[in-house]
């Protein structure tokens, strides 16, 4: 497995995937903020995005300039094929572990 996918990295990757073609800094931040009810710092978010880009899990392009951003463009992110593979691998691993651990993790017992 190329590179290790951290918990936060996985979260960011999945968020970007679920935001379809509107994944940029602010939208990702608000999405995560709302869902996890924790406030992530913009610096930490962009650092993680940079790392994911370096690992080849993300690609990006500049969008159109927008009024509410002082006329500045957004950078829109997309999960690449390798990113998808990494996510699937992670999920498979989880699923396997869940199956194996099902007995112990049963909440009803």
């Amino acid at each position: 497995m190329k590179g290790y996918l951290g918990e936060f990295e996985e979260l960011v990757l999945l968020t970007i995937a679920s935001l379809l073609d509107n994944a940029y800094g602010v939208s990702i931040k608000t999405y995560i903020d709302e869902r996890t009810s924790r406030s992530i710092s913009i610096g930490a978010l962009h650092s993680t995005i940079t790392r994911l880009e370096e690992k080849g899990y993300l690609s990006s392009h500049l969008g159109e300039p927008t009024q509410e951003r002082g006329g500045r463009s957004k950078r829109l992110y997309e999960v690449t094929q390798t990113g998808k593979l990494a996510l699937h691998q992670m999920k498979n691993l989880r699923d396997d572990l869940w199956v194996a651990a099902a007995q112990n993790l049963s909440l009803t017992k």
């Binding site: 940029y24 800094g25 602010v26 931040k29 710092s41 913009i42 610096g43 930490a44 962009h46 650092s47 995005i49 940079t50 790392r51 370096e54 500049l62 927008t66 509410e68 951003r69 002082g70 500045r72 463009s73 957004k74 950078r75």
Partner: protein, 877 residues
């Protein structure tokens, strides 16, 4: 309404300033969008605060750092790849080929500097390989003694002889203790042949601690029995030839017959223990030399005993250290003699602290440092010249650098390019320097005191080290030019406007450097000239006795009377005298003598002579008479010198004759005569009180007075005569004047060493000067041409071009001469009591020599420039 409220301007400008050229449009947009979103939920102040927070969080984030890094380089110039490296290499080679003159000078200078460095490296490599063949070297220690005399507190490598025994008996936890006695030093007698043998007495544990393999014999038993001896392969071949030495018997006085129990492999040169033979320690005990076991006296005597011990793997020496310090307190309770013991790791012995009584060759840190310093004295100016010359040539390379920068070459890359160039020159210099190194290696070998036990042949490690060193020097020497070039603004470079910053470099640094180099060269030249003068002075000094036509023959075991009879028959020998020492050399004996009224005896130098001696050496008797031929009356008389008359308050020379003194506290001797002062010892010491005795049992030398007309015949005759007296030894004869000469030969070593360094220094300085002069003139060719066209004479042009450099040499002279003068006035007196003071002639000769060298260098360039046809340099304009 919304558009009126803006994010904090200060935060924005801080952010943009910090981001430099990095692309952060999206990040900036993000924070601004979040700011407006915040405005809807929070107060303005809160929103601004959060804005600041986010800006800082971005500034310190990994994201921004990466973006900045990416923005710093052109996409095509990121990193250094092989293509660009080969381009640097090619440019460097072309540049060297284009400027053959400067490149040649540079590389020649560097290689001179490097050759000395190579020498230093090979010495260093050798030293650091010392004792590395012992497999247990990390566990081996030796005990050293420090005597606290409140003056020097000298450290001795040796210990009291019984310390090893005590350590073995009283301290558990030591694996092995081995005592070594370094006194095995004598002539081994084997079937009428005598061979000098030198080595140690030691115990069988020696082989368990150290790795000295035996070729023959059993290491466990070979040194067990008294009077057994092991000899090295080399010695065995000298004594026994091809015969198997095991079981043979050698006679070594005073220990008697020793049986050879084995053969040792030759001791490697990088061992601090050096021996030709090892004898069993029990020999000493049985010979009764060592049986003062644990007596008081033996603890204050530690001249030749050494104790080494082996600790079990992984244990520390603290316990031994504590035991030893307690032991020292117990053994030296009194204040009159204080000493302490400590342990020294085998790895710290060579190179290590300076110790007395070293068991073998030693290198202390100070002497290594001195060698390093000498190396740097030559290497640094050579590198400085390199820097100087490369920057001088910078104008020619401006365009190249400008183009490189415009095409996207980063500062860091230009820097790297010049480092590559310097390193390349350095590598060529290293290659060349090997030839110089081979030339000087032999000479240096002879000069160093420890040289005979040194191995400086280059090996793989030396090669690696010297390449590493050359790279290091290359980088260091390259830094200044590389920084300079990389700083150049490409616009100015392309417009050829960079002559402005060069001036900054040109002014003080370069001239100071040349001046210092010339000063140093002058210093070396003066030192050599002064030393030569000193040597000549010593050789021609009037010692107060005759030196010519005297041959000193060592008596060895021959009785003086027999010698006189046999050699008296030779036609060439005019007269024969006997003496216990040789005059005028450092080693005359000392005896204690006192006046009857005095409490304590004084140590006074003395030589024992016969009645012919005074005539033979042309000494001048002022008062009294010579020894007579009557042996018994001679023993009761002494002859003193003028200085002794004064020292013992004996009035004048005439009244001194007949007075009695006490020799060695008990023997009454009367003064037979007084001789005029003469130099009984070397010129290093002042003439002090001195007396002659006449005791035939002390005679060591016969002094034959014989003209040197046909040396060869006389010597063969003498050898025949000697054969009749003593067939065991070879005749040892030397001309007295040669012996005196030898005593001052150390001047030659100094002269050679300094001469060599001086030669290097002068060459390097001349190279620097030549390069600078040639460059300066190259830049002024147009000016010279215009001047000539306007009617300036050749002489005036030469003067104009040379005057800066002449001034430089002049300043170097003015500064150096007084420094060297005062230094040597101090040194010479310390070196030799009767020394010549530094005279005007030496200074004049040195300065002239330097001036000739400097002027030739300068004028060779300036005259050529002044004689050039002006048309050649102006045609282009």
């Amino acid at each position: 309404m919304k558009s009126k409220i803006q994010p904090p301007r200060l935060a924005d400008s801080l952010f943009l300033w910090y981001c430099e050229r990095a692309s952060v449009e999206d990040l900036h947009g993000d924070v601004e969008e979040l700011f407006y979103a915040d405005l809807e939920k929070h107060s303005l102040f809160r929103a601004k605060l959060k804005y600041w927070q986010r800006i800082f969080s971005l500034i310190f984030s990994y994201a921004l750092r990466q973006r900045k890094r990416r923005a710093a380089y052109h996409p095509y110039s990121s990193g250094i790849n092989t293509a660009i490296l080969s381009n640097y290499f090619k440019t460097a080679v072309r540049n060297l080929a284009k400027n053959k003159f400067y490149a040649g000078l540079n590389i020649f200078g560097l290689s001179l500097g490097m050759s000395l460095s190579l020498l230093f490296i090979s010495i260093l490599v050798f030293i650091y390989r010392y004792d590395n063949f012992h497999t247990k070297r990390d566990q081996i220690y030796r005990v050293i003694t420090q005597v606290h005399d409140d003056v020097d507190n000298p450290i001795y490598a040796s210990t009291p002889a019984d310390l090893g025994y005590v350590l073995e008996q009283e301290l558990p936890g030591i694996e092995k203790v081995v005592s070594i006695q370094g006194t095995l030093n004598g002539e081994a007698d084997y079937e009428e042949k005598k061979m000098p043998v030198r080595g140690y007495f030691t115990e069988p544990e020696f082989f368990e601690v150290f790795d000295f393999p035996l070729l023959k014999g059993n290491p466990a038993t070979a040194l067990k029995e008294p009077n057994s001896i092991l000899i090295t392969e080399k010695e065995a071949e000298k004594i026994f030839g091809s015969k198997d030495p095991v079981g043979e018997v050698l006679t070594i006085p005073p220990y008697g017959e020793m049986t050879v129990t084995g053969v040792l492999k030759d001791v490697p040169k990088n061992s601090h223990l050096t021996f030709g033979a090892l004898a069993s320690y029990s020999t000493l005990l049985s010979a009764g030399q060592q049986n003062q076991q644990l007596s008081e006296a033996s603890w204050t005597n530690f001249t030749d005993s050494y104790v080494y011990f082996l600790l079990p793997e992984g244990s520390s020496s603290d316990a031994v250290e504590n035991f030893l310090s307690q032991l020292a307190k117990d053994r030296y309770p009194k204040d009159d003699f204080l000493a302490s013991f400590s342990v020294q790791r085998l790895n710290d012995i060579v190179p290590g602290v300076e110790v007395y009584n070293a068991i073998g060759p030693s290198w202390d840190h100070l002497s290594i440092l001195l060698v390093a310093l000498t190396t740097l004295i030559i290497l640094i100016p050579a590198c400085a010249n390199y820097v100087n010359l490369s920057i001088s040539q910078s104008l020619k390379r401006m365009k190249e650098i400008g183009v490189r920068k415009v095409m996207g070459g980063q500062r860091r890359q230009i820097f790297f390019q010049f480092i590559v160039e310097t390193t390349l020159s350095m590598m060529i210099a290293l290659f060349l320097s090997y030839f110089f190194f081979e030339l000087i290696r032999g000479e240096f070998h002879k000069m160093l005191a420890e040289a005979d036990s040194m191995d400086m042949t280059p090996n793989f490690i030396t090669l690696i080290c010297s390449i590493g060193f050359a790279l290091l020097v290359g980088v260091l020497a390259g830094i200044v030019p590389a920084l300079y070039f990389s700083k150049i603004n490409p616009l100015n470079a392309l417009k050829s406007m960079v002559s402005i910053p060069t001036r900054k470099f040109r002014l003080p640094g370069r001239k100071i450097m040349l001046t210092v180099q010339y000063g140093m060269s002058l210093g070396f030249i003066m030192a050599v000239v002064i030393m030569l003068q000193q040597y000549r002075y010593s050789m021609n000094y009037d010692f107060g006795f005759r030196r010519e036509n005297i041959l000193d023959v060592a008596l060895q075991d021959v009785k003086p009377q027999l010698f006189r009879n046999e050699f008296g028959k030779l036609a060439a020998v005019q007269s024969i005298s006997m003496s216990s020492n040789i005059l005028g050399l450092d080693y005359s004996a000392v005896k204690f003598i006192k006046d009857e009224s005095q409490q304590d005896s004084t140590a006074v130098a003395t030589i024992s002579i016969d009645d012919n001696f005074i005539d033979n050496f042309g000494l001048h008797l002022i008062a009294g008479s010579n020894f007579s031929s009557d042996q018994n009356s001679n023993l009761r008389h002494i002859i003193i010198n003028e200085e002794m008359v004064k020292a013992f308050n004996l009035g004048d020379a005439f009244s001194a004759v007949g007075k009695t003194l006490l020799l060695n506290d008990d023997k009454e001797v009367s003064i037979l005569g007084v001789v005029k002062n003469f130099h009984y010892t070397s010129l290093r010491q002042p003439i002090g009180a001195f007396f002659f005795t006449s005791d035939p049992s002390e005679f060591q030398y016969a002094n034959l007075s014989m003209p040197l007309t046909n040396r060869f015949d006389d010597l063969t005759q003498m050898e025949v005569a000697w054969k009749a007296l003593d067939s065991n030894h070879k005749v040892k004869a030397q001309y007295f004047s040669d012996e005196i000469g030898d005593a001052y030969s150390f001047y030659f070593v100094v002269i050679k060493l300094w001469g060599f360094l001086g030669l290097l220094a002068v060459t390097v300085a001349s190279i620097g000067l030549l390069g600078t002069v040639a460059f300066t003139i190259g830049n002024r060719l147009k000016e010279v041409s215009i001047r000539k066209v306007m009617g300036a004479s050749t002489e005036s042009v030469v003067f104009m071009l040379s005057k800066d450099f002449l001034l430089l040499i002049f300043i170097a002279t003015i500064v150096t001469v007084p420094i060297v003068y005062f230094l040597f006035t101090k040194i010479l007196v310390q070196m030799q009591y009767y020394s010549v003071s530094v005279g005007v002639s030496e200074i004049v000769v040195s300065v002239l020599l330097l001036a000739i060298l400097g002027l030739t260098t300068i004028f060779s360039q300036t005259i050529r420039a002044a004689n050039a046809n002006p048309v050649d340099h102006m045609r282009g304009d």
